[in-house]
């Protein structure tokens, strides 16, 4: 993660950020960084970027960090964050938005033919189906 950053209004005009806001319909500027979402997240310890920091990064326009983080994939969409948020920010929906942006970019896309045949037979069906979502280009 970058330690230094230049904040500028250009950051907010980033295409991915605008796409994210459009898909999720979440006003991230409502967030006042209380951290209740992260505090109530059951999967917090497995994430390399806690949910409140994902929102902070969106507020400041740092999309790359979010796209690199494992957070949206660890998120189980249990919506405890959304239920707890005092400002009515639908964080679970935002996470889904992040996943959509990533999917549409084709990051981590998986070609089924590249998987070893033996392994392919052993893998759970649901995992494969989930991964196919990432192949949409």
């Amino acid at each position: 993660m970058e330690k230094r950053m230049t904040v500028s209004s250009q950051n907010f005009k980033n295409e991915d950020i605008q796409k994210l806001e459009e898909i999720s319909e979440v006003n991230v500027y409502s967030c006042y960084q209380c951290g209740n979402c992260s505090a109530s997240c059951p999967a917090f310890e497995f994430m390399d970027m806690p949910p409140h920091q994902v929102i902070r990064a969106v507020q400041l326009g740092f999309i790359d960090e979010i796209l690199e983080a494992n957070t949206p994939w660890i998120c189980a969409a249990c919506i405890s964050c959304t239920v707890k948020c005092p400002r009515g920010v639908d964080i679970a929906k935002l996470m889904e938005g992040v996943r959509q942006v990533i999917l549409r970019k084709g990051i981590d896309h998986l070609n089924i033919n590249e998987i070893d045949k033996k392994l392919r037979e052993q893998l759970p069906q649901i995992a494969l189906i989930a991964n196919f979502r990432k192949t949409i280009l």
């Binding site: 950053m5 904040v7 209004s9 006003n27 500027y29 960084q33 400041l60």
Partner: protein, 650 residues
């Protein structure tokens, strides 16, 4: 010997858990003078007071000692109770065995011993107390309000509408103060002038208000109910009695200088009114910059004035007013940017303070409300607002929170966004404090609707580079070092008491704190009174505050004035220091130590005389008197010696 009754209060368990009440009663019951002793759970309660009253009648007591909490709390309660059964109130004494005993000790043995000694010493005092009557003082039912900003205006209107005359003094040519400079006010975004000017007009139309603008108080003497105030009416070079306010002189004056009202970002003429809605709407001439006064030529204003009101021969005028009460509403200044080295020390033209930004936002300001930066008049696209500039920094500047900056920075960012929709406001903050009705919602609106970006951290430095201002800070929420290329920076500088207020406070003999703000008589219970009777405080002179708080305090001060004027005389505490003329040698030591000017040396008689009304009973004179002639009533040397003896005996 007097018959003294002692009443020991348990104060629930506040006293009784550390002081052994029974042991105290045992020790006191045979003490000389004590004819009755009793304890009760809550002496201050109705049954407690009734007990006191009944015993006085039943036992024929001459004096009572209530051993309870501090006299600042319930002395009045018990004194009123004893008065109801015909006892002189100065025969009721309080022995403080709570704040000075049970609360500060843990060891019951030690506390019990101390409680006994405290009560014994107070019994000794009560034995020699005189019966006293309050000193009656006549009251001049006329008030003076110093400073005609929103605080002074509100106080003056309230007093005037209660039916008393008010002299309203302001050093500026117009009333209105800081509020007249503001653009729109949080949290409703009302135009500041639109809500202020009706009050200004009301002041000018109110028959009970004598308005003295462009004037300064130079001397104050006297005391509550009877102040004499000397006022300097600064020379205006315009005869306001003749002037009809047509404004031709202003229009035709050929010289422009930087306008104080516009915080230096706009211009004014040399003969000027500070702003169009000025009250009174009559000009003053600034001789320092006037061509006629510098070179002896010009006189355009004089030649063109239709009623011939311009008069270059005018001089300062001094007048004296007699008033019974004074409200100090001298307002605030903002901390000068030149003190902030890390923010360019005032040398970067596009780094301005909040008050200057108000003028840029104001529809009556130098840019007619368009946000244009001072250096080149361009519309800034990225503006950084920095809060806590000089505030909350005890190491380098001031320790206090300036209270209004969080809200006005949010307002500034919001108004900027409304004026420049494609611009982006950023606010660097340490904490956001939005205590006030509708304030938190306002702050949320700034973020939610106007997309103001809040960055949590203190800016370390800023510098100019390629027409931009590089702002270096940190966002502690994301843990990142932040660099911003701003077009303009607005600093929320600390609120300071207005210049010269401390000299003025010394003139009035009222206190101010280490930051220069005037000190209230009690931080919670007496927030509108100064420590000097008859002098009240309103607005930012006492501490930084917003408009609703200022109005509330000003109305509170006005109510205190009306309260004072409700009677045609005042009652002054008779616990004062007199002079025993047989003992007084006229050395005058007491005259020099008296902080209230209550003592005067009569050289003919060779003795000191006391003005009983001015004496606040501080005791400085008694302590300094070499012959014992200055004795404070009910605190005589004999009483004090007896009290000390009572303590040292055991």
């Amino acid at each position: 010997m007097k018959k003294i009754g002692v009443f020991v209060c348990h104060c629930g368990i506040n006293i009784s858990s550390t002081v052994d009440i029974e042991a105290v009663k045992e020790a006191l019951k045979n003490y000389p003078g004590v004819t009755h002793i009793e304890d009760y759970k809550y002496m201050c309660s109705d049954p407690g007071q009734n007990l006191l009253k009944e015993r006085i009648k039943e036992k024929g007591l001459d004096g009572v000692v209530v051993a309870a909490c501090s006299p600042t709390l319930h002395e009045n309660t018990f004194r009123t109770a004893v008065m109801l059964v015909g006892m002189n109130l100065y025969n009721c004494e309080i022995a403080n065995i709570r704040e000075q005993c049970s609360w500060v000790h843990k060891d019951k043995k030690v506390a019990t011993k101390k409680a006994k000694l405290i009560i014994k010493s107070v019994v000794e005092k009560a034995l020699l107390n005189e019966e006293l009557e309050p000193v009656k003082v006549p009251v001049t039912r006329r008030a003076m309000v110093v400073g005609a900003g929103i605080a002074g205006i509100q106080a003056a209107l309230n007093i005037a509408n209660s039916g008393y005359e008010v002299v309203l003094v302001d050093k500026n040519p117009s009333i209105g103060g800081r509020m007249a400079q503001l653009s729109e006010t949080f949290p409703t975004l009302d135009c500041s002038q639109c809500i202020l000017t009706p009050k200004m007009v009301e002041v000018s139309q109110n028959k009970n208000i004598k308005l003295m603008t462009y004037s300064e108080v130079v001397d104050v003497s006297g005391f509550v109910g009877n102040f004499k105030v000397k006022i300097k009416k600064k020379v205006k070079y315009v005869d306001w009695d003749k002037c009809n306010g047509c404004g031709i002189c202003i229009e035709k004056c050929p010289v422009t200088v930087s306008s104080e009202f516009n915080q230096g970002v706009g211009k004014r003429k040399v003969i000027y009114t500070p702003f169009p809605q000025a009250v009174p709407n009559k000009p003053v001439l600034d001789a320092e910059n006037c061509t006629y006064f510098i070179k002896g030529k010009c006189q355009i204003c004089k030649k063109l004035c239709p009623p011939d009101a311009v008069d270059y021969t005018q001089v300062d005028e001094f007048v004296e007013e007699e008033v019974g009460a004074i409200v100090v509403a001298t307002g605030y200044d903002t901390y000068d940017i030149s003190n902030m080295e890390e923010f360019g020390a005032g040398k970067i033209p596009d780094v301005i303070d909040g008050l200057t930004f108000e003028r840029l936002l104001s529809s009556s300001g130098p840019t007619n409300g368009e946000v244009r930066r001072p250096s080149d008049g361009k519309i800034p696209k990225e503006v950084v607002f920095i809060s806590c500039v000089g505030s909350r920094d005890p190491e380098h500047h001031f320790s206090y929170c300036s209270k209004i900056c969080c809200m006005y920075s949010a307002k500034h960012a919001m108004l900027y966004k409304h004026r420049v929709p494609d611009g982006q406001p950023f606010i660097f903050y340490m904490d956001v404090r939005t205590g006030g009705k509708g304030y938190e919602e306002f702050y949320q609106r700034a973020q939610e609707e106007d997309k103001v970006i809040y960055l949590r951290g203190k800016v370390s430095k800023l510098y100019r580079e390629d027409g931009k201002i590089v702002v270096c800070g940190i966002d502690t929420l994301s843990g990142k070092y932040v660099e911003l290329n701003a077009d303009m920076v607005v600093l929320a500088t600390a609120i300071r008491p207005s210049a010269g207020v401390n000299e003025f406070a010394r003139l009035l003999k009222i206190h101010y704190d280490e930051n220069g703000f005037l000190t209230e008589a009690h931080p919670k219970l007496r927030p509108v009174e100064s420590l000097s009777a008859g002098i009240y405080l309103a607005g930012c002179a006492q501490a930084p505050k917003d408009i609703p708080d200022t109005i509330a305090q000003a109305s509170g001060a006005a109510a205190m004035v009306a309260n004072l004027f409700a009677s045609d005389h005042l009652l002054h505490e008779p616990l004062i220091a007199g002079v025993n003329e047989d003992l007084c040698s006229g050395c005058g030591f007491c005259v020099t130590v008296c902080p209230y000017d209550a003592r005067k040396l009569n050289k003919e008689e060779g003795i000191v005389e006391v003005n009983e009304v001015l004496c606040e009973g501080c005791g400085s004179c008694s302590a300094s008197c070499p012959s014992g002639a200055a004795q404070q009533k009910n605190f005589t040397d004999t009483q004090l010696v007896n009290m000390v003896k009572a303590i040292l005996k055991d």
